[in-house]
């Protein structure tokens, strides 16, 4: 059973350079209890994809060019604002990157948690309070009943991110979208937050889309991974497969650039060049100007996403050779 099914999604932005596609032909499925990792550099279209699912893209300047986003049998792109509001929260919850600015500074965290309950359910203040305490306890906050009356500035970054997770989960969403949930936290807190998300997934059985540029986070969390580059999916594979046998040159570049304690190199390996400007995309394969494996055909043919092995797809003209290496 699939919970969320994104098909052929294209998101366009009107800019001074004309209309550009920030997300181009992106599609994926998510099953209950599954964790999908979406990796890519800043500007690769991963956050835009998440915002499109939530219906949070500002229109204008953005516009959905084509595609569908099915959640529990309804196409979210066809829903009006009022219906979409009922999906946000109890259907799909979202947590953001910046825990420091994701909580309203003028209200206590209890106020904010209870407000989220109030938006979607008719329940008394006492039940709301109980629910808020329960949720804080579940995300591992000590003395939850006392923390309820704290203001956000009284909490550490890690605790605020826990509160954010509690807020996103308080309405029991079927799907949680986590947009770089740990980027702004220090490493030990990152680890705690990731473990918390894994525990909550096991406990509540929701599907999680985790968006990150950190391969370590993907390795730890995801069941399946999609790699995005310049608005397109370049590779899709189960997590072990991706780490053991990456096919697409971009994925390989990303994996090679992870520093490791074991190697003695003085400089980190990098991918030469930068992400192309979205209004000046190269012809053919979008990664081609930066690619070590480039051949002449790369500049004229857009490689389709095609199967490499069972469950593993990639978008490279030379993927059979690369897979056979």
């Amino acid at each position: 059973m699939t919970l969320l099914s994104v098909r052929d999604l294209r998101v366009l932005f009107g800019t001074e350079h004309g209309e550009i596609a920030a997300v181009d032909d992106v599609g994926f499925d998510l099953a209950p209890g599954e964790i999908l990792g979406v990796v890519g550099e800043s500007g690769s279209g991963k956050s835009v994809t998440a915002l499109a699912i939530m219906g949070l893209l500002p229109k204008p300047p953005s516009r959905i060019g084509q595609g569908s986003i099915h959640f529990q049998g309804q196409d979210l792109l066809q829903l009006g604002e009022r219906d979409m509001r009922r999906i946000r929260g109890p259907g799909i919850g979202m947590i953001f990157q910046e825990p420091m600015t994701s909580l309203n500074p003028v209200f206590t965290i209890g106020d904010q948690l209870m407000e989220t309950v109030r938006v979607h359910q008719h329940s008394g203040p006492k039940e709301q309070r109980e629910r808020a305490v329960e949720m804080l306890a579940r995300v591992g906050i000590a003395l939850p009943a006392r923390r309820l009356d704290d203001y956000p500035h009284q909490l550490s970054g890690g605790m605020r991110q826990r509160v954010m997770i509690a807020m996103a989960l308080i309405c029991n969403p079927k799907i949680l979208i986590a947009d770089e949930p740990t980027t702004a936290l220090d490493v030990t807190i990152q680890q705690q937050i990731l473990e918390l998300l894994l525990d909550l997934r096991d406990e509540l059985g929701m599907g999680i889309v985790i968006i990150t540029h950190n391969m370590g986070v993907v390795a730890e969390m995801a069941d399946r991974v999609i790699v995005m580059y310049a608005g397109k999916i370049v590779e899709r594979a189960p997590v072990n497969e991706l780490f053991e046998r990456p096919v697409h040159p971009y994925t390989r570049g990303l994996l090679d650039s992870i520093p490791s304690l074991a190697d003695e190199r003085e400089r980190l390996k990098t991918i030469p060049g930068t992400l192309p400007r979205p209004w000046a995309l190269p012809a053919g394969c979008r990664f081609q100007p930066r690619c070590r494996w480039r051949v002449e055909a790369c500049a004229s043919t857009v490689p389709p996403l095609g199967p490499v092995r069972e469950g593993h797809e990639s978008a490279c003209l030379r993927q059979q050779e690369l897979a056979a290496e």
Binding site: L56, A142, M167
Partner: protein
């Protein structure tokens, strides 16, 4: 791992305990420590006290004519002197303070309500922004005093009309300030988070955006109070304020102008009262701005 995290959180919680609920107190404490704010507040309090206690400060009616006592210079019996009709200047100045402060307060209230409403609608709903702000710009294109003169002349002389004229002049300026801070706050992640949690527009505006965009408005309103008092005096001086027997600072100065040489106290005392009021409000506003919006602070 999880256990140690909990233990750590508890330690942090215990350490943070004395600081509970400190944010608002901290703001008040910093205001209290701000010297020019304190000074402005004290001056303003004196003026408000004078206005409120007017009947006790001066038992004589401000409109009582005493022809034997024309042009008395300030003395123990007549602390602020008397004018060309023998009226007590003290009475006229403190009763004038009542009217000035009343008009200032009303203009500030009307601005707070309508400026916030227009600014919030323009800043939050992009479809309305252009229409509302172009009307705003059109009004702001007129110099404040000229526009107030025009409106006051069309509406006729009365206190409510004065409040209306000053509100029409200043609401666009207030709306613009609210709009810009609403736009800034709308970009905050907690607003996105509230949208992502399924909150509607009204709730987002009321709970998340407006409470966080109030600081610049508060600063603006304290300056606005000063402008309103000053513009009211200007209009009265030009003969567009309350009808002459009514003691407004502008009226008193306008009448005293003719006797400036012989009886300078008639024009200088209400002038000084006006200057002190405006200065008090400006010092107050400066203090508020320094404390509420530290980014704008001018390095001293």
């Amino acid at each position: 791992m999880a256990d140690s995290a909990v233990a750590f959180d508890e330690a942090v919680a215990a350490a943070a305990e004395p600081e509970r609920r400190s944010a608002r107190w901290d703001t008040l404490r910093r205001l209290w420590r701000h010297r020019s704010f304190k000074f402005g507040l004290a001056l303003f309090a004196i003026i408000v006290a004078a206005a409120v206690l007017a009947p006790w400060i001066s038992p004589v009616s401000p409109n009582k004519l005493q022809m034997r006592l024309r042009f008395e210079p300030p003395s123990w019996d007549h602390p602020f002197g008397t004018d060309n009709l023998g009226r007590s200047q003290l009475a006229r100045v403190v009763y004038g303070a009542q009217l000035s402060l009343f008009i200032g307060t009303m203009v500030v209230l009307v601005n707070a309500v309508f400026g916030t409403l227009i600014g919030a609608l323009a800043g939050y709903f992009k479809q309305l922004d252009n229409a509302l702000m172009r009307i705003n710009d059109a009004i702001m294109a007129f110099p404040a005093v000229l526009l107030a003169i025009g409106v006051a002349a069309v509406l006729g002389r009365s206190t409510p009309n004065m409040i209306l004229a000053l509100s029409i002049v200043y609401i666009p300026r207030t709306a613009r300030i609210v709009r810009s801070s609403v736009i800034v706050v709308s970009q905050m992640e907690y607003v996105q988070a509230a949208v992502a949690a399924g909150a509607g527009h009204w709730r987002i505006l009321r709970r998340h955006i407006l409470p966080n965009s109030m600081a610049p408005l508060l600063v603006q309103l304290s300056f606005l109070f000063a402008y309103a008092v000053l513009t009211e005096a200007t209009l009265s001086f030009l003969g567009l304020g309350a009808e002459p027997p009514a003691p407004t600072w502008g009226n008193i100065m306008s009448e005293g102008r003719q006797y400036m040489r012989e009886a300078p106290w008639i024009i200088t005392i209400p002038g000084a009262a006006l200057a002190i009021t405006v200065m008090a409000l400006n010092l107050l506003g400066d203090g508020l701005r320094d404390v509420l919006d530290p980014r704008l602070k001018i390095q001293q």
